[in-house]
């Protein structure tokens, strides 16, 4: 077990202190509105139970929506509530912990970061709303502004959550913060907005209709989660199929085993380092997986599959053939463009094609040169930065390779 990064430790520590203080406060003063607390706690726990570890971003939308709704709850079936912010944090913490137990016991990944995020985000929303509610400083409930206020508050909360997630991801992976934050914010537009809306509408709905509103609102959100899951699953399958298509060149003996995978993994790492966004990284990865597909059209294999050593005209022909195949696969047209342009001089290429070209050349040269090939391959690339490889890409590649201890990443 490695020690967590300072940022991770700070976030977890804050969450733990906050949760402990809230629990102590609640135990000391007693629980206000037991039925409501129990219902929301149950909702959060069920939401956490239904969490799934694919897809990354918001794994437990129902848990998040339930927690936010409890934080914004000002009335229950017409009667004002007085549960206060500490009780919100305490209930959500306890419920989330309970919901996490099966996940931890079955070894489905750690949830310390997930819990820390849930606690801190809920605390933010609760401490913004509950004191104002207690003092009666909110917009009048019978006006349309109340809904607007709730949405604005939740939007702010979700922004905080995205920032938190990006900081945690940066501490975990060491990737630059800017692109990570951008990806988190983009995810907010997807399922994040559904969570936000459900949270914002659950609170007034409980205020009007009582606790009956909870199951009624959970159902559409569960449906959203299912749709999201299905979408993630088909995307994963799609990736596997593309990887198989990439393996075709290896089985046909045109390229060495694992070449496409290594180029794809390295390209993704370099793209990360250059600050590309998640959709751009996907295009980059697919293009890298399929960059040699044009060789299937050749009657005889290129020796060792070393396309970087061929003359430019032939390289370009293979690239164009590959682009033609990729166009038939129904992937994003951008992927086909990257494959087509991979043999052009870098000034005429899109960024992804520059990365694929440099990484492919590096992989081939490093493999050909044996154990110390990595350094020599980088050196050769640097010498060709006038025309073929972009200097920034080569430097980024050097950084990525250095981080990986000068070995090629082996991926399955």
């Amino acid at each position: 077990m490695t020690r967590p990064e300072p940022a991770t430790a700070l976030v977890r520590g804050c969450a733990a202190v906050l949760a402990a203080a809230a629990l102590a406060h609640t135990l000391w003063h007693g629980v206000d509105g037991r039925g409501t607390a129990l219902a929301f706690g149950l909702l959060v726990a069920v939401g956490e139970l239904a969490r799934w570890s694919g897809g990354g971003r918001e794994a437990a939308p129902l848990g998040a929506a339930g927690a936010l709704a409890y934080a914004l709850l000002g009335a229950d079936a017409g009667h004002p509530t007085h549960h206060g912010a500490p009780q919100v944090v305490a209930v959500v913490t306890a419920a989330a912990l309970a919901g996490c137990v099966p996940h931890v016991s079955s070894g489905r990944g750690p949830c310390a970061d997930h819990l820390a995020r849930r606690v801190l985000t809920t605390a933010f929303a609760a401490f913004c709303f509950q004191p104002l509610h207690a003092r009666g400083a909110l917009p009048r409930e019978d006006g349309p502004w109340y809904a607007v206020f709730l949405v604005a508050l939740l939007a702010l909360t979700v922004l905080c959550d995205a920032l938190l997630a990006a900081v945690l991801a940066r501490a975990r992976t060491g990737w630059p913060l800017g692109p990570l934050l951008r990806d988190e914010l983009r995810a907010v537009l997807g399922i994040g907005s559904a969570v936000c809306a459900t949270g914002a509408v659950m609170a007034p709905a409980v205020a009007v209709a009582g606790l009956w509103a909870l199951p009624l609102f959970s159902l559409p959100l569960l449906l959203t989660q299912l749709a999201f899951r299905r979408c993630t699953a088909v995307r994963a399958t799609y990736r596997q199929t593309i990887a198989s298509l990439a393996r075709a060149t290896e089985i046909a003996g045109y390229t060495p085993a694992g070449h496409a995978h290594r180029v794809a993994a390295l390209s993704r790492a370099v793209g990360r380092d250059l600050g590309l966004s998640e959709p751009e990284l996907t295009v980059l990865e697919y293009a890298a997986l399929m960059h040699d597909i044009g060789q299937l059209s050749l009657v005889d294999p290129v020796p060792e599959g070393a396309t970087a050593a061929l003359d430019p005209a032939r390289q370009r022909r293979i690239a164009l053939l590959g682009g033609a195949v990729v166009r038939q696969t129904g992937v994003d047209a951008e992927v086909a463009v990257v494959v087509e342009r991979q043999a052009d001089p870098y000034r005429e290429q899109p960024v992804s094609a520059r990365v694929v070209r440099a990484v492919n050349a590096y992989e081939e040269k490093a493999r050909a040169a044996g154990p110390a090939g990595s350094l020599r391959a980088l050196e050769e690339l640097r010498l060709a930065t006038a025309r073929d490889y972009q200097p920034e890409v080569v430097e980024s590649l050097a950084r990525v390779v250095a981080r990986g201890g000068l070995t090629l990443p082996r991926t399955g």
Binding site: V201, V208, P220, C231, I293, L296, V299
Partner: protein, 459 residues
């Protein structure tokens, strides 16, 4: 584009007449016009941004088999914004609720022709369904329960409304399938109602919450928020369908990569996939397994990518050495698709589709029941299509002759129940070997090298 059968036109006319009757009491009744206007605009807006739907598939030359059973698509592509309609039905009197559906449905995008007719049909259908939902909801005193709000009683009228909505939709849809596509009425109705009930029930809950919030002190603005998760779900579903289509195109590209190398079997893989599904249905396999078998059939020869092009295109007989290399293709194929999780059982079919029942096949010489079921199916489909398609070195055999040949080899090479299933499927649906529209060349090879071919599956 064929003309619409008169019976279908008559059915549409009935629906339109019914819808007009529903709308007729509008001018006289006390109608909350501002609410109606808001809902109408909302529905039209939602309908405009949501994905196109294919509810009415008036006559098109659809393949009778191989496609999905009729009516299945209608349920999965629920491209409309039912929550708004149902919320309208729970809040407004029946004629006003029916009116809410009209402008949105008239303005909605329609993919297939005849567009005007489809729009009119859809409008009538939704108006009738919404009217029925509102009527059923109102009859149980639902509108007071929404205003109060009186939970859990409010769920009962809402449930009745949802049932009425589903029943009307299923009735009208079944009718159009029966009249326009000549699907037997019972087959058309069967399942339509049950399949749409689940999704519409969820939409009904969202509609109920929307109605309750609309009448609450928080007002329409809070009610609008209910729609956001629904919007996200629609968006995800659209994305799912797009990705799935892209995925299928990629599978096809894998097959086309085989065609690049081995030019003479154009369309063979697709047809083997179709024949495999026919057999699967006849054997009573579940839908998922039949679908997996389609992929198994399509991908059965993908390993030929690993065989040197020179051998695949060689004129004249192969030497034993060359034959051995070509016979590696099932193993290559199995290795290639190893990483594709969803293929699962289909991978076994790719590996074993050249095994024979008496144990004389390759790669492992498995016997009888040792051969996986999928592989036995694909072997029969493969041989059948190899015999009935024209190859460069001989003409296609008639279907009856091919079946006769399969029967002769059943027991030694092929699994007799599978051969029987193919024969039954063929007698029921016929064999339509035309390749998909994107391949105008059909299954005739572009160039015509002569000589013995190793891949003659019947050999």
């Amino acid at each position: 584009m064929g003309s619409v059968p008169p019976r279908a036109l008559g059915w549409v006319a009935c629906a339109v007449l019914g819808a007009l009757c529903c709308l007729a009491p509008l001018p006289g009744a006390r109608t909350p016009w501002p609410t109606v206007a808001l809902f109408t605009v909302l529905y039209a807006g939602c309908e405009h941004i949501s994905v196109p739907h294919h509810r009415l598939r008036v006559p098109h030359h659809r393949p009778r088999w191989g496609g999905r059973p009729p009516g299945r698509r209608t349920a999965t592509s629920m491209g409309t914004f039912f929550p708004v309609l149902l919320a309208g039905a729970f809040l407004l009197p029946p004629p006003a609720a029916a009116l809410v559906a009209v402008p949105g449905a008239l303005l909605a995008r329609v993919e297939h022709r005849p567009r005007a007719l489809r729009r009119v049909w859809r409008t009538a259908q939704l108006a009738l369904a919404t009217w029925a939902a509102s009527r059923a909801h109102g009859a149980l005193g639902g509108r007071d329960a929404v205003v109060a709000p009186d939970f859990p009683y409010a769920l009962l009228p809402a449930g009745a409304g949802v049932l009425a909505f589903c029943a009307v939709l299923a009735l009208l849809d079944g009718g159009i399938l029966a009249t326009a596509e000549r699907v037997p009425a019972r087959a058309a109705w069967r399942g339509l109602f049950a399949r749409s009930l689940g999704p519409v029930a969820v939409h009904g809950l969202a509609g109920l919450m929307m109605a309750v919030l609309w009448r609450s002190p928080y007002g329409p603005l809070a009610a609008l928020l209910v729609l956001l998760p629904m919007c996200v779900t629609y968006w995800m579903s659209a994305q799912y369908h797009r990705e799935r289509a892209a995925h299928q195109a990629t599978i096809r590209a894998l097959v086309q990569a085989v065609d690049i190398k081995d030019g003479y079997t154009r369309g063979h893989s697709e047809r083997v996939g179709r024949a495999s599904v026919m057999i699967a249905r006849e054997l009573g396999m579940a839908d998922e397994r039949a679908e997996a078998l389609r992929f198994a059939g399509i991908l059965h020869d993908v390993g030929k990518l690993g065989v040197p092009t020179r051998l695949l295109r060689k004129d004249g007989p192969l030497t034993p050495e060359e034959r051995r290399i070509v016979e590696l293709h099932p193993e290559y194929g199995h290795e290639m698709v190893r990483g594709i999780g969803f293929l699962d059982e289909a991978r076994a079919a790719i590996l074993h589709h050249h095994e024979r029942l008496d144990g004389s096949g390759y790669p492992y010489g498995l016997k009888g029941r040792q051969i996986p079921e999928f592989a036995r199916v694909v072997a029969v489909a493969d041989a059948f299509d190899a015999m009935t398609s024209t190859r460069s070195y001989r003409r296609a055999r008639p279907v009856a002759a091919a079946l006769e040949e399969l029967r002769r080899c059943a027991g030694t090479q092929f699994d007799p129940p599978v051969v029987d299933a193919l024969a039954r499927a063929l007698s029921r649906h016929g064999w339509h070997p035309a390749v998909t529209a994107d391949d105008p060349r059909g299954n005739v090879p572009p160039q015509a090298p002569a000589g013995d071919r190793h891949a003659e599956a019947g050999s």
